[in-house]
Amino acid sequence: MIEYALQTENIKKEYIVSGGIFRGNKPLKAVNGVSLSIPKGSILGLVGESGCGKTTIAKLILGLEKKTSGKLYIGGKEISAMSNKQVARIIQPVFQDPYSSLNPRKSIAKIISLPLRAQGLANGAADIEKKVDDIMEIVGLAPRLKHNYPNQLSGGQRQRVAVARALIMRPEVVLCDEPTSALDVSVQAQILNMLLDLRAELNLTYLFISHDLAVVEHIATHVAVMYLGRIVEEGQAEDLFSNPSHPYTQALLASVLTPDPELGLPEIQLGIEYPNPIDPPSGCSFHPRCAKCQEKCSVLAPEPIVKDGKLVECHYPDNF
């Protein structure tokens, strides 16, 4: 039996948004029934355009937002039966912007050791120091940086500090929300290589949120594609990238500009822009942008179909 590090069951998150002074409030379904299962030791890449609800899922899993409905399991246990402290013991985040996610008034050693102190896991100052030294070595930070402050570090070094802080308690799951999009390409490669090394070394499970498909293809073992609060396609990374079934996945893949001067710019038939989530389209939420849209699509929302471990939510999927 496969052991899952993290499972969500039909989770939903609704925000109530004001429609204007006299128009009353409207629900915004940021996450609209998402079920994900991440097997232990794997890397799930969660991709989608901005505003599709990727980061809301991250917040729900971390307990930073309360879900409206649905169930969330960590290591087989329901999350509502656990305290925030227990959740933090198992899941730790690495955020996008290393310039704002580190406290500028604390030294690097203080920042990295905070989870230990918050959880009361260390036996005295000497133990904390030893653990900080160990983790700094693992993530490739020079020991001399211990007493520096975040503003003295480069972007890549800061992101290493964020990773060190996440790993010091030896969590099982690391939730990376766009961990490399604020970095230069040469530094991005360093961080990606480090994340892959750490996974093997410490037997970690990653939930890797990104809008960069090339990065996700490189790092992920499983991929879930999100559109307007729902997972529209999910499967093994290799299979999903070589045989995309959902028209949205196909369009996303076609938009990736690989460095190849032989190819011109792709023609993408995603004419109109991303829909307003307060007022989602009827039927299949992707139908106004879909090149293969038919009559049925604008009326009836497709049900998820599962075959050979791959999930697609489309009336007319390809290669399926």
């Binding site: 390409v185 690989t258 460095p259």
Partner: protein
């Protein structure tokens, strides 16, 4: 044919409290009509400073020396501010990276577009509005007359970037400088905006300087490429030469460290350039890349400041002679 824009031996220094920062060092290039030149490099390599120097928009601490910056035969360096402001926006336009911050939130889109034209040309407000509607349609914005009454916050990032492009085109410039025009956008929108920029460029036969760090974007739209590192040009060439036969170790490093679907193996290590970009403050000598270069030799610290020219367009700055790649 003479070039649309010719930059010769451009140097930009920034007078900072920490010392003199040599942001741009001895950069020369030229842009032809209807062609795209791409300036590529990581953050801090001086590529945006070049754009600002051409537009005459350097920060107060910036000091610019150059042999010449010739634009359509006029030397921009010899112009006073008043003369330069008649060029800026009218004959050369700039599209900035952040569509979120480069539009004024207090004015409607229509106001801002119309002003861009009436500032420079004697046209009636009605004519200017007609041109704005025409250009909004060109950049793929439907229902343009109602869009003119909207404020920037009512539009999405992709739409705002299209508005920025339309604004740049209002006066029909002959040179457009696009500084990271798609970095803040989603991949799907990125491809659309680049497609739009290059088709408009072809249609109006404009020269374009595309500033970016994204080699994917560069490879699809540029004609010529200038790779920059630490304020210096490290390699130049046309697009096929640069991508098929990169010479400089930095260019090669850049190409190896991006994951490419179908080429790099998932889960395997990417090539990476160790270390970080140094800050070019104080006296500089030797090759700036030597501390991160796997091929660095002793002489890299002493020699290697000159560009070696192979052909008319192709040159590189490295003491290690070019190795023919087998690919």
């Amino acid at each position: 044919m003479s070039a649309l824009l010719e930059v010769k031996h451009l140097n930009v220094d920034l007078n900072l409290p920490a010392g003199m920062l040599h942001a741009v060092r001895d950069v020369s290039f030229s842009v032809q009509k209807g062609k795209t030149l791409s300036l590529v490099g990581e953050s801090g390599c001086g590529k945006s400073m070049i754009a600002l120097a051409i537009m005459g928009l350097l920060p107060p601490s910036g000091i610019c020396h150059a042999e010449k910056i010739a634009f359509e035969g006029d030397d921009l360096l010899k112009m006073d501010e008043k003369k330069l402001s008649t060029f800026r926006g009218a004959r050369m336009a700039m599209i900035f990276q952040e569509p979120m911050t480069s539009l004024d939130p207090c004015y409607t889109i229509g106001n801002q577009l119309v002003e861009a034209l009436t500032e420079h040309k004697k046209v009636s407000a009605k004519e200017a509005k007609e041109r704005a509607v025409f250009l909004l349609e060109k950049v793929g914005i439907t229902g343009s007359s109602s869009r003119l009454k909207q404020y920037p916050h009512q539009l999405s990032g992709g739409l705002r970037q299209r508005i920025m492009i339309a604004m740049g085109l209002m006066c029909g410039p002959s040179l457009i400088i696009a500084d990271e025009p798609t970095t803040a956008l989603d991949v799907t929108i990125q491809a659309q905006i680049m497609e739009l920029l290059s088709s408009i460029q072809q249609e109006f036969n404009m020269g374009m300087i595309l500033i970016t760090h994204d080699l994917g974007v560069v490879s699809r739209v540029a004609d010529d490429v200038v790779i920059m590192y630490c304020g210096q040009v490290v390699e130049t060439g046309n697009i096929n030469e640069i991508f098929n036969n990169p010479i400089h170790p930095y260019t090669r490093g850049l190409m190896e460290c991006i994951p490419v679907p179908g080429k790099t193996k998932p889960g395997e290590k990417l090539g990476s350039i160790p270390g970080i970009v140094p800050t070019p403050i104080g006296d500089l000598w030797g090759c700036s890349f030597r501390n991160r270069c796997s091929l660095a030799k002793q002489e890299c610290a002493t020699r290697g400041l000159e560009l070696t020219k192979i052909s008319d367009k192709r040159s590189f700055r490295c003491v290690i002679p070019p190795v023919e790649t087998t690919e």
